[in-house]
């Protein structure tokens, strides 16, 4: 069903709450997009309501009336993330197989430092006294070899309730093959303590490897109650103001889900914020004909990088967040401490370092004039002339260039015996290299050649640096989307509904039982359908099947899509899938072995509720000359020699305008640096497309 085409007055709203700003994108039925930002608030729902009032005002509507005409709100929220980062989650108890209650503390032996004995243990989100082993055991085939001791379960649940837990996580060995004991325990908890948040591993992540499963299940129990509470409150506030549509939440996997499922699977919402940006990038890439993208988003404290291949964002199951292992498939977003607020410092060996410590948004960089004295990346960018002290955030904030210079002089230039400009250049060079290495981490380390990707830059300063990463990595095109400052909110409003199901099934690929596999896929599809709910906003459903394969003996598996034209996987489909596995293995690891037996480990299924495409507004190309948007010239440093660069007001640039670097484009919420010899063109959608000259091999 297409909800927007019939009713022209219906609105859809994407809302992304970040650390500093709450971003909103409103989409009307005719493809018109409107966006704004408002400061985030300690209780994020207040910022959300402020933002809605602000955007309604911009559209000349009264808030209640506007909300009553919103059919859909999609929300990117960091509530679950912050709960885990700040360790402010629920008091959680764990029930697990007797004899195995310490796996969460063992972490398979993993430590973040391989040298320092001084690194302390992670904060225990479930301390040992709240982890209780209960008698029960399955074997590797899922057979019960020790019956569940229900008396012991009851006793344990009562103990935990007396201790005041707000959530119980349950994780038994081999429950991914046979969930009967976990399901029974869940039932018993619901009888003993109705209303308690229960998280069982066979529902959260029915996948082999007990540590990964227990960690993910515990994190789900730890963050679930807070997210559930927040979403219910938000929905109530929205309803009170007249909203009668559906409220969805952006998921870590790049799809959206209703709030009931999101609350149950909070561990799947830990990347709810940044996932929107990656999703939006894929959406924009499709419109402008770039299906292979590297996306970068530079915020105040961090720099997020992700890869999109053939319009599909890369996924990973290898994440650690806040020192806890989350094995749910999520967008593979690699984060490094290279944001605008990242602090530059000289270490005891005389080496310049940038980050990971950040001045954050408060006091922020020295140039914010709020008492920060340490030099940051933003300070260096200001000193080098990339930023305009009078037009930061559209002029909402004045920057203090003298304070930036002083900070750089004291902390970098003097210790290293450099001039302030040299020191700022050095800061810029180091942070650029950190960024380039972050991109290498998600490309070359994963077997992708960055040269065949375009670089899509978002965030306030992503486009200040992107030209450098493009040169470093041999990338020929940089895309700065028109909606760069609110990219995540745009992703929220444009994403499809998505449910990911997973089942472990361990067998040799050449002896596969296709009937059993097809039965499992059917079961997974049904489960996914139920979780998707009404799916009212979807125009059609799409099922994608995958299988995790590896050579016998390998422990890491590769997810390979199964290409079927029907709902059944045939022998031929399976053969083709295995052939593709060998190729992917070669790409990732530089060798393949077609004679080695291949093992199946997991089956995966994505059910997508595909939503109607957002019709983006397009304008024909006009004059090439950008003179009408030029606001002046200023001195900019790309090396020790000063360069005069033209400065443009990006909000006045029109499709067809062509700018040859060096130049700076200042637009609301973002600054674009067009490096010497780079060429920037405004495309029909208002995106800034920068072409980089391909260096000769061995050049520079």
């Amino acid at each position: 069903m297409n909800i927007s085409s019939n009713e022209q007055t219906s609105w859809m709203l994407g809302i992304d709450v970040g650390g500093t700003f709450t971003d909103l994108v409103a989409l009307d039925g005719k493809g018109g997009l409107h966006s704004t930002k408002t400061p985030s608030t300690p209780d994020p729902s207040i910022g959300v309501m402020n933002g809605i009032a602000k955007i309604a005002g911009m559209l000349g509507e009264e808030t209640g009336h506007f909300l009553s005409r919103c059919s859909l709100i999609v929300h990117g929220t960091t509530v679950a993330t912050n709960t885990l980062l700040e360790y402010s989650g629920a008091k959680v108890g764990l029930l697990t197989t007797e004899g195995f209650r310490d796996e969460i503390e063992f972490r398979r032996g993993y430590k973040e430092s391989v040298f320092s004995p001084r690194l302390p243990a992670p904060y225990p989100i479930v301390p040992r006294r709240l982890r209780i082993g209960v008698p029960e055991r399955l074997d590797a085939a899922g057979n019960v070899i020790r019956e569940l001791d229900e008396d012991a379960v009851r006793k344990a649940v009562r103990f935990l309730v007396d201790e005041g837990v707000e959530a119980i996580a349950v994780c038994f060995l081999f429950s991914f093959i046979n969930p009967a004991h976990e399901l029974r325990v869940k039932e018993m908890i619901e009888q003993e303590a109705p209303g308690l948040f229960v998280s069982i591993s066979s529902e959260v992540l029915p996948q082999i490897r007990e540590f990964e499963r227990v960690s993910t299940t515990i994190v789900n129990a730890y963050t679930g109650p807070a997210l559930q509470r927040y979403l219910e409150n938000l929905e109530r506030s929205l309803h009170e103001q007249g909203f009668a549509g559906e409220l969805f939440v952006m998921q870590s996997n790049g799809g959206v889900q209703n709030i009931v499922q999101s609350g149950k699977l909070a561990a799947g919402c830990l990347l709810s914020g940044p996932a929107g940006g990656v999703t939006a990038a894929a959406f924009i890439g499709e419109r402008i004909g770039h299906s292979d993208l590297i996306t970068v988003d530079m915020g105040g404290t961090s720099y997020d990088v992700a890869v999109i291949e053939q319009l599909q964002p890369s996924l990973t199951t290898e994440s650690w967040i806040s020192r806890y292992r989350i094995a749910l498939p999520m967008l593979d977003i690699h984060t490094v401490g290279a944001g605008g607020g990242s602090i530059a410092w000289v270490d005891s060996g005389g080496l310049l370092q940038v980050g990971p410590r950040s001045a954050g948004s408060y006091p922020g960089p020295a140039c914010y004039g709020r008492g920060g004295t340490e030099p940051t990346v933003t300070d260096a960018n200001l000193v080098l002339g990339y930023l305009n002290p009078d037009r930061f955030l559209g002029g909402e904030m004045k920057l203090d260039a003298a304070a930036a210079e002083e900070a750089i002089r004291r902390h970098v230039a003097e210790p290293l015996g450099l001039t302030v400009i040299e020191a700022a250049l050095a800061i810029s060079e180091v942070v650029n290299n950190n960024m380039s290495n972050a991109i290498r981490f998600v490309t070359t380390q994963r077997g992708y050649d960055p040269r065949r990707f375009a670089l899509l830059a978002a965030g306030g300063a992503g486009a200040v640096h992107a030209g450098r990463q493009a040169e470093d990595l041999g990338i020929e095109t940089v895309i700065v989307p028109r909606f760069a400052p609110v990219l995540c909110a745009l992703g929220d409003v444009s994403a499809n509904l998505k449910v990911t199901e997973l089942r472990t099934r361990f067998e040799r690929a050449d002896k596969v039982d296709l009937d059993a596999i097809n039965r499992l896929f059917d079961e997974m599809e049904q489960a996914a359908r139920e979780k998707l709910g009404s799916g009212r906003t979807a125009i059609r459903f799409e099922t994608r099947r995958y299988v995790d394969l590896r050579y016998e003996g390998e422990v890491h598996e590769v997810t390979v899509p199964i290409k079927t034209r029907t709902r059944r996987v045939t022998a031929l489909n399976m053969e083709a899938t295995i052939a593709q596995f060998h190729d992917i293995h070669e790409r990732l690891f530089a060798h393949q072995n077609p004679h080695s037996p291949v093992e199946i480990l997991n089956l995966r299924l994505d059910l997508l509720g595909v939503r109607d495409r957002i019709p983006l507004h397009e304008e024909p190309f006009g004059d090439e000359d950008p003179a009408p948007a030029m606001t002046g010239r200023r001195t900019v440093y790309f090396g020790a020699e000063p360069v005069e660069a033209a400065v443009y007001n990006g909000d006045l640039l029109r499709p067809g305008h062509m700018i040859v670097g060096p130049a700076v484009i200042e637009q609301w919420g973002t600054t674009i640096v067009v490096y010497p010899k780079h060429e920037a063109l405004i495309d029909a959608f208002g995106n800034c497309m920068i072409e980089i000259r391909r260096e000769r091999e061995g050049g520079r």
Binding site: R108, L351, H556, H585
Partner: protein, 588 residues
């Protein structure tokens, strides 16, 4: 000046890129190797070397199993020495001989030269613990070994590929001498694949910056590391500090084998002298000089800041001497199959105990003192399996200044990732019955060691098990007044007919189907006096079952009482009185 900052920044760029290449190599090995030692346990390390005159230098490395870290340096050196005038693009070199810069012959080192123009410039290398190494015993640990040939296959520097051509005959010779032929080829492919990936990245780097610039950048990065390490050593008071520690036995009847370290700090130089250590022994615990140096460096590394890039610069301020013919520098053909555990652990322990006298707040890592046990049998189809019973002995993290030990292994071992229980039960005919911390089974201290473990493993099929005990007579040591760990214990056929409480070593002990092997694995050593531990922390330990009420009294002088509601409370006054009495009587 402008030129100077450019160069300095360039060294950072090139160095950072080489580090990321070493990490990429590591990712390739993990994901594509076949034997659980690689892919589950990560018992390998990757590094990049350059050629500096006739010597190779470590330029960058990725954290894997740090115990390989410096052994790989001398192995690469020997390989370069052997093929100095016979290196060609496409060559792949291999060595495992402990007397050619190795540690024990289970650790194999693969190196490929990367050329710039006509010269070999950089050398990516992978060093790994292989699943088997031929020889008399599956899995390679042969406690009856009397010489290096009884440790397993001895491979001097050889070429596996010459100018890109696979030497099929050499491969066949190696595969034909290995029980895990089906894994070995995949593992070698993974190691070589990692080097090939590195080769491509390094070539791009050389093309982009040119050989001279890359060389300068590497020099400056090595100098940087050296500066940082010298700064750390320079902050320790000058003097000579001596400590000794003992290995329980050599598995062939000789007991209490001494490792003695005399550490001299002079300005920013550190000299470690192992004079006074026991003569070499007939059992397989002898540590070749490269292994000894490796463990000494690892001990020093744990005392430095961990953000210092690991490269040749780490080694420049430190010198190591060990008299030939001792257990820490044996003469050919002394066996050394067990050296990476014993006396490797004692070497690191002796160095740290000496350093504790001048840098008490920096030391903390404990020796691992593994009660190593491996079982072997056959799958139903007749193929052999070797199960290293990792769950049984992985543990023993010690305390450090400011923090309790935690998790399982001490940090230097934690590149090593424990397999998953579920995956293990799929892959081997075994069942893990228990894998949990054990109460009161660690070194107490102001900061205590990580709790010890109780582990029960059942082998479903008929099997044979060999156990090499360690840490029984000479347990894991505490530092600066912290308590030592308790004794390790292993029982084969626990609670079953034929039960055997392993005294020092057993070899191929028969276990009937469903035989159970039980491990009581010591936790780590403590740091500082247990009487100085915060009583609230002790109470917390009691609540969490790490320490019993009796243990709190006995080990910490803390009086914890039951609160009558099923919980516990601290008797602060009684504790204070009791502790001051204890301290008083100690002073007397």
């Amino acid at each position: 000046m402008a030129n100077d900052w450019n160069k300095r920044i360039l060294s950072q760029v090139v160095g950072g890129t080489l580090d990321s290449v070493a990490q990429e190599m590591s990712a390739v090995v993990t994901r594509t190797s076949r034997s659980p030692l690689f892919n589950e346990a990560h018992d390998y390390t990757t590094g990049i070397f350059d050629l500096h005159g006739n010597k190779s230098r470590l330029v960058a490395q990725a954290p894997g199993c740090t115990l390989h870290l410096y052994a790989v340096v001398s192995a690469v050196d020997r390989l370069v020495e052997a093929f100095r005038y016979d290196l060609h693009p496409g060559d792949v070199l291999l060595v495992n001989d402990p007397y050619y810069g190795g540690s024990h012959s289970l650790d194999w080192t693969i190196v490929t030269p990367v050329f710039h123009g006509r010269k070999p410039v950089l050398l990516p290398a992978v060093r790994s613990h292989m699943g088997d190494n031929g020889g008399p015993v599956a899995g390679g640990y042969n406690p009856r070994s009397r010489d290096i040939w009884q440790d397993g296959l001895r491979i001097p520097p050889i070429k596996l590929y010459e100018r890109g051509e696979k030497r099929r005959d050499v491969f066949e010779m190696i595969l034909g001498n290995n029980r895990l032929e089906h894994w070995l080829e995949g593992d070698l492919d993974a190691m070589i694949g990692a080097c090939r990936v590195a080769e491509e990245r390094i070539r791009t780097l050389l093309e982009r910056y040119g050989g001279d610039q890359v060389r300068e950048a590497i020099d400056s990065r090595i100098a940087y590391t050296e500066r940082r390490v010298r700064e750390e050593i320079g902050s320790w008071p000058d003097g000579t500090y001596t400590a000794e520690t003992f290995a329980d036995h050599d598995f062939q009847g000789r007991r209490d084998i001494r490792v003695k370290a005399t550490v001299t700090v002079k300005g920013s130089d550190l000299h470690i002298d192992f004079t006074g250590s026991s003569p070499q022994v007939s059992g397989f615990i002898n540590s070749p000089l490269s292994n000894t140096t490796s463990f000494a460096f690892v001990a020093v590394s744990t005392c430095c800041d961990e953000d210092i890039p690991i490269n040749e610069g780490y080694m420049n301020p430190v010198t190591v001497t060990a008299p030939l013919g001792t257990v820490v520098n044996p003469k050919l053909p002394a066996p050394c199959g067990h050296a990476t555990a014993c006396v490797g652990a004692e070497i690191a322990e002796a160095v740290l105990l000496a350093l504790a006298q001048c840098a008490p707040e920096r030391v903390g890592v404990n020796a691992h003192k593994l009660p190593l046990a491996y079982s072997h049998g056959e799958y139903e189809d007749g193929r052999p399996w070797v199960n290293l019973n990792f769950f049984g002995y992985t543990g023993g993290a010690g305390a450090a200044y400011g923090t309790d030990g935690w998790g399982l292994y001490p940090p230097v071992m934690t590149g090593v990732i424990l397999p998953s229980i579920e995956m293990t039960e799929y892959q081997y005919p075994c069942r893990i019955l228990k894998h949990e911390y054990r109460e009161d089974y660690t070194g107490p201290g102001k900061w205590r060691g990580a709790p010890g473990l109780e582990v029960k493993i059942q082998h479903l099929a008929e099997s044979r098990t060999s156990v090499m005990m360690a840490g029984v007579r000479n347990t894991i040591r505490g530092f600066c007044g912290g308590g030592n760990g308790p004794a390790n214990q292993v029982v084969i056929n626990d609670g079953q007919p034929g039960a055997m409480d392993v005294p020092e070593t057993v070899f191929d002990y028969p276990m009937p189907p469903n035989g159970i092997i039980t491990f009581q694995r010591s936790g780590g050593g403590g740091w500082g006096s247990p009487l100085d531990r915060d009583p609230e922390a002790v109470l917390d330990d009691v609540r969490n079952g790490y320490v019993s009420v009796d243990g709190a009294f006995r080990d910490y002088g803390v009086i914890v009482r039951e609160d009558g509601k099923g919980g516990y409370r601290l008797d602060a006054d009684a504790t204070e009185a009791h502790r001051s009495r204890l301290k008083e009587s100690k002073r007397k």
